[in-house]
Symmetry: C2
Subunit: 352 residues, 2 copies
Amino acid sequence: MTMPKERGTRRAGTHVTSVDVAALAGVSQAAVSRAFTPGAPIAAETRRRILDAARKLSYVPNSIASSLTTRRTNMFAVILGNMNNPFYVKLFKILLERLQSQGRQLLTFTVEPGANSDDALMRVLRYQVDGIILTSAQLSTRMTALCHDRGIPIVLLNRYIPGSDVSGVRCDNIGGGRLIAKAFLQAGARHFAVIKGDPRGSTSQDRLRGFAEQILEEGIARRNILELEGQSIYEGARLAVLRAFQGKGQPVPDAVFGINDTMAMGAMDALRGEMGLRVPEDVMVAGFDDIDEGAHWPYRLTTVRQPIEAMIDEALALLQPDAPGRPIEPGIDRTIPGELIWRDTIPRPKHG
Amino acid sequence: MTMPKERGTRRAGTHVTSVDVAALAGVSQAAVSRAFTPGAPIAAETRRRILDAARKLSYVPNSIASSLTTRRTNMFAVILGNMNNPFYVKLFKILLERLQSQGRQLLTFTVEPGANSDDALMRVLRYQVDGIILTSAQLSTRMTALCHDRGIPIVLLNRYIPGSDVSGVRCDNIGGGRLIAKAFLQAGARHFAVIKGDPRGSTSQDRLRGFAEQILEEGIARRNILELEGQSIYEGARLAVLRAFQGKGQPVPDAVFGINDTMAMGAMDALRGEMGLRVPEDVMVAGFDDIDEGAHWPYRLTTVRQPIEAMIDEALALLQPDAPGRPIEPGIDRTIPGELIWRDTIPRPKHG
DNA sequence: TTGAAAGCGCTAACAA
DNA sequence: TTGTTAGCGCTTTCAA
């Protein structure tokens, strides 16, 4: 079945391996390996000859094969939750660019929002990735234990699993929620609606919690904060607002807080488009994340900016790509503060 | 250096391999391989025992190792161009979901818009992917030849390289351009602006070409079509419009055609936001792609819908994931028609 | 249906 | 600095 290999021929055949290159260059196969390994002990002249031969044969080293011995694939996995939210797309984009510039590859997976990531993780394990970035939170401790056992670091991005030993990096969501509440309060709002995302997710919970705490501290009753379910997406928020306030619904509150920008934009479109209200004159609105679209002319959304770059830097540091063998420290939870971005959906405070 | 392996112990150690499972189950290592290979010749009872042992040891098969012999990694590569355009994000999302549901993995790369994909392709080759999907077009024939030589199929999505032997799937961009032109014309437009994307890309060129042809056929002079450069992005289009028409600029045309929706939206925001014009009363606008955001209340953009799902189906078919060894047919170029989506940025034709 | 044995393409001791 | 020699964890003949 297997044909005799035509070594040393110029024919860029189906499978050129280091053996072929070695034959053509008149060196051992190991020398070829060294020629392609930065810092390996090899004479400059030998190296040149090998690289020459390699070029002639259009040889491309097989990373898959090498990872079998080195135990490092140079591949990282990212498991994406809600790709309908531009925030996660931006996160993914920056992550991809970072990793790529470091010469690492990214194996990508999606998981339905709210669905369990275990399946994806199982597949990831088969591919021997060097690290896992999760932006979707539902996963079993059994699974994380599996990863830890084989020394594969996991880091949660913009997520947090209470009581878990999985490390994570996130924005200070509680603080961010407070920032929005303060802005609404100084503008005179007294009745609020919050459009929640995944009610089981820490992100949504924390933002709401900070928001509510700040308002309660102002002496306003909790029942003045109406909670709506927006499923983390534009359309969910739009419909939630319509269902709650349109027609003979409840009175429209003074201020609507979208737990993320996409939902805030969905709410705005319902409020202004379908219900004919003005923002911020009739209703104030605020979001969270600071996605690019929120800054566009139709919205000019006041929001909390998540420090994406810093979060990714931290996450990659937690993945400790430099110290592969190092034991994984359990449950580091890094929190980075967000920044209030004033735009036009909340009246500005008087200057000074 | 290498410790003796503790075979058969329950300890889910650092590296459980099929050998460990075999030892615990009291079978040969080959049997373990068979137990995990669908359709392999193995007794049901043996299989059960092996799976049992595997579970006890939390054994996960190493796909990397197996791909060394099978010559199939089950990984596909996608090379993404402009991730700032939601259209490509949507394309990516659907592609990812499709591949994932087929049990295939996706290795993702980005390339600066307009930059050469050769670097990314080189890395892709090292990882022995089973196929490559490109949404970014600049690549050398040398590179595609390399891929073809080693039997890795490439398919261009929403791209076309004239005279190349790389297969591709795209929307009928010329026809789509004509659809927009017809819509503008029936609404009475006589002076036009087109906001182009990458001037070297076939996509932008074809849409413009179809658009212009239709208009010329109507007897309108070519000089009535002003061409602007929007770099394929929202902000580029916004600034291009401002630069051209704001203040003492040229007179605002009757109709603006954004070569893609993002740019059309950028143009709309410039026109209405900064310049205070009304759409469609003062200027008509149209886009191309039909991204979700274009349907939202502030825009209600008339556009041409790209048949994303069909395009991806075709692309995956061209990648012939079923017939790995089959020689790659050269340069198939599939074109699927787009569909005009009437919304509110061009006055509707009178009914009947 | 099973096991033994020979690789897949590469890296990493070790010796020369 | 080089070549030789074992593997890495798996699949796949080939015999039994």
